[in-house]
Amino acid sequence: MEQAAPDLERLLQPAPLEPLGHPDAGLEAAVGEEAEGPQDDEGPGDRTMTENNFWLKKIEISVSEAEKRTGRNAMNMQETYTAYLVETRSVEHIDGPSVLTDSLWRRYSEFELLRNYLLVYYPHIVVPPLPEKRAEFVWHKLSADNMDPDFVERRRIGLENFLLRVASHPILCRDKIFYLFLTQEGNWKEIVNETGFQLKADSRLKALNATFRVKNPDKRFTELKHYSDELQSVISHLLRVRARVADRLYGVYKVHGNYGRVFSEWSAIEKEMGDGLQSAGHHMDVYASSIDDILEDEEHYADQLKEYLFYAEALRAVCRKHELMQYDLEMAAQDLASKKQQCEELATGTVRTFSLKGMTTKLFGQETPEQREARIKVLEEQISEGEQQLKSKNLEGREFVKNAWADIERFKEQKNRDLKEALISYAVMQISMCKKGIQVWTNAKECFSKM
């Protein structure tokens, strides 16, 4: 079989994730703007790194090792966990040597903490997902055990991927907590918790309520929500079938290995056929063992798909935030309208709407003009406040939609690029598998013909 053209091969290498400071043209511009512009939305003053040289140098982040540890947990019980070594290197000049600037150990729960924090403070961003906590979509050969070295290795890669994604995001990369995650081992958890981000998080109930009750969400977000549901559904289905296909393929290859053993035994009793049988048997063994590498490569492909499976949830989170804000806005507008109406009714003396005051008035007698004046005054204050609030909520809402949509566009491009690449790499894997198959069976055929 002919070799693929050299540039084809180069194109087919999975593209390394861009380390920060070496982004494509579009990204660089965004980074430049952020450095001078106003603070991020919904970020308190000292969250971003506006004048830190750190981000202007090219940096590389890697999760280079995983180590099993035992320690005591919050309930003072012995537990085993895996710790990951996070290393940061900076490069002074382009193509110069990289210098290790920071190196610390983090466990999975700390990555989770970081992500949860980012979710709260950057609700308009599609926050990159973490690799799965527990192995799912496994096929029988892989264990679902968290301590299994293959799982740990794949998780290490997933965590590195997460950090690289955050670091190459024009907005997230400037976050101080993220910076501290990479540079300050001790006390980091306390600092994160001190931000009080858990309190700022929207309650699930509130979000659910908003989703059902919102009247006028931006259509694009509604569509996006449907898309993310579909994406999640189709990728899970795909991964499940892939796992089953892998299982079966494994079976086919491995059973051929049995031929190897029996041919070898059989060759002992044959004269003319002996040599042919023996060497054919050897090729059967080669065939059977070739599946291990093939399926290991496929596992990495599955991980790439999984990342986008989890990204679907991140998309939904942004949509939910929009719905929440929109609902809030609608409620505020409704509240304002009803107060205005009440005011009007009090002023003109007509009662059109039901009110508790109206009822008590009927029951206990009319109120005095002074009382009425007082109430009108309170309402007018509330109305004026409400109008202010509505204005700012409206502004917030529009800002959110604008920024969120910008990030969503960025995400879409990234997704299309990454998934296309993944699918192409899958094709490359299949090609390699076919070539190996042709090789083995050609050899086997030769042996059989010599029997």
Partner: protein, 378 residues
């Protein structure tokens, strides 16, 4: 047949049953057994011949499985130390991991076809009167013919003697037959394993095929909710579908070319053990008479005469077996060799088809790549 993938079962111009010697000495052309609709046990046997002793040149008769069984029995009786081809099992045998096709009837029909053709190809068996009757007699004639021959009582007597002798065993089996016996035992064991392995492979490939059927369509479904990715996803979907089809062809090949051959030789090895027993039995008969002579148990002259006949019998039996053994080994080697080589060829073909599919997908994708703006270039 060289360089060609075996096609579907040949028509009635037929196929000699894998005989090593290219042209058989007899010109009884192969018989074709076809299944009719309806009664699965009702088979039509077509034969063509140019041999003189047959009344015409083409015959068409209806036979049942038990008729084949009868034929085999008669051949074994007439030629106890010849290697009679095996019959397929009457029913699906429990413990077979998977029936070859889901069509047991078709598989059995092919095996019965093979059985007849092997007999027709055999230099001695082809001249059997029983074979001739089997191929040409109408139903009534066949049952009449079956009733001829030793009566029931004498058959019972034969069986009793046979049992008595087999319990006695044979004293000294000649070296060449000891080797043969050892070979047969080992061969039988290996064949049994290979039969199991081959069936297991078929099962696994079958299940792989079943899963693959779902794999392509999911990608097609996904492409419906995508824009930029739709093209790529659609491409992957169609590649998977084509690979799925190639898998199906591979499966067919396995069930047509490999499994029947392996299974036949498994059954052959059981036959061979029977042949060895019958040879031993003949020798045992001689030995028992010789013993009787030694101990003067009966009339010496009569015994000596009988012993003489038995010595001839043993000599014939051994010679016949010796010759047939060589022939059988040669056939076995060729059959096994071509079955496995054929399977390897099909597998190569399978991978070549899949390779072509994926490579053309890749070429199409990278053409598109090259046309896109260079954001991905290093």
């Amino acid at each position: 047949m060289e360089g060609e993938l075996p096609a579907a079962p040949r028509g009635s111009s037929g196929l000699p049953a894998g005989d090593a010697s290219g042209d058989s000495p007899c010109a009884l052309l192969p018989a074709e057994a076809l299944a009719l609709d309806g009664d699965e046990d009702d088979l039509e046997v077509f034969s063509k011949t140019s041999r003189g002793e047959f009344d015409s040149s083409e015959f068409e008769v209806r036979r049942r499985y038990q008729d084949f069984l009868w034929l085999k029995g008669k051949l074994e009786e007439a030629h106890p130390t010849l290697i009679i081809p095996p019959l397929p099992e009457k029913f699906v045998v429990k413990g077979m991991v998977e029936r070859f096709n889901d069509d047991f009837i078709e598989t059995r029909r092919r095996a019965l076809n093979k059985f007849l053709n092997r007999i027709a190809d055999h230099p001695t068996l082809t001249f059997s009167e029983d074979l001739k009757v089997f191929l040409t007699a109408q139903a009534g004639e066949l049952s009449a013919h079956k009733k001829q021959g030793p009566g029931l009582l004498s058959k019972v007597g034969q069986t009793v003697r046979a049992v008595a002798l087999s319990m006695r065993g044979v004293r000294s089996r000649p070296e060449e037959f000891v080797e043969m016996n050892d070979f047969i035992e080992a061969f039988s064991q290996k064949m049994s394993l290979i039969d199991k392995i081959s069936q297991r492979i078929y099962k696994e490939e079958r299940e792989y095929f079943d899963e693959m059927k779902e794999y392509g369509p999911i990608h097609a479904l996904w492409s419906e909710s995508e824009e930029d990715l739709a093209d790529t996803l659609g491409g992957v979907a169609s590649c998977l579908d084509r690979c799925c089809q190639a898998t199906e062809r591979r499966l067919c090949g396995l069930s047509e070319a490999l499994l029947p051959v392996v299974h036949e030789y498994l059954l052959y090895s059981e036959m061979l053990m029977g042949v060895m027993k019958r040879r031993d039995h003949i020798q045992a008969e001689l030995e028992s008479k010789a013993e009787a002579l030694t101990y003067r148990k009966a009339d010496t002259d009569l015994l000596t005469e009988e012993i003489g006949k038995l010595e001839d019998k043993v000599e014939c039996a051994n010679t016949a077996l010796r010759a047939d053994w060589e022939r059988w080994k040669q056939n076995m080697r060729n059959d096994i060799k071509s079955a496995f080589a054929d399977t390897a060829e099909r597998n190569i073909h399978y991978y070549e088809q899949c390779l072509a599919t994926w490579e053309s997908f890749l070429a199409a994708q990278t053409d598109l790549y090259a046309k896109e703006p260079s954001e991905d270039k290093p």
